[in-house]
């Protein structure tokens, strides 16, 4: 079974620039999550999708972050404009019918 795919693996940008991350969940998984993990901390839920609808985006900084999941499969997370404090690993996860989370390897973002 193929895992959750994320790209890019690493990204370095300057503050105020924009950046986008892509996630392809495991085939058939209806629920998709984006987490932000700052060094030394546990992952923080940013947004949760059920198919192509948003279930929870209460922790998403909507003035600069946006996410979409067109057609209920792939998802993109965008930051515009980036701030220094956005430096983190962005993890995508999808879940099966048993609600077990499967994570990708993440995108490590450095904002200079």
């Amino acid at each position: 079974e193929a895992g959750v795919a994320q790209s890019p693996r690493y990204k370095i940008i300057e503050k105020r620039q924009s950046v986008a991350f892509w996630c392809n969940p495991i085939s058939g998984h209806a629920t998709l999550y984006w987490y932000q993990q700052i060094l030394g901390q546990g992952p923080k839920l940013l947004i949760q999708f059920q198919n192509n609808g948003v279930v929870d985006d209460s922790q998403l900084p909507k003035d600069r972050f946006s996410a979409e999941r067109l057609k209920g499969v792939d998802s993109t997370l965008k930051i515009q404009p980036a701030k220094l404090e956005d430096s983190a690993v962005y993890l995508c996860a999808s879940s099966d019918q048993n609600e077990k989370l499967f994570f990708g390897s993440g995108t490590q973002l450095s904002v200079l």
Binding site: Y35, G42, L45, Q50, V55, K100, L101, F102, F103, G106
Partner: protein, 113 residues
Amino acid sequence: LAKTTQPISMDSYEGQEVNITCSHNNIATNDYITWYQQFPSQGPRFIIQGYKTKVTNEVASLFIPADRKSSTLSLPRVSLSDTAVYYCLVGTLSGSGTYKYIFGTGTRLKVLA
């Protein structure tokens, strides 16, 4: 949402059994407990989940007392490769019928030779 509390770090020696306890005092009736393992530069990986009593799989056991306000992850005979961060999560059923998972700070387990 139930908040979880677990030790920040633990040290153990190879071959020993390691028990990591997590408290979740505000757990709701439909919530269940799940544990994840995370190595550096990787996403968290599922270890085990349970609702009550004891659950065992090929890598770990999970003990949940009757009041469900805590749970204990047991790793038998750890090896150096078990050095990782272990997260206790409570899955909460949302209005959409899906589960929401909030991570805490995790327990950094270091296995020594």
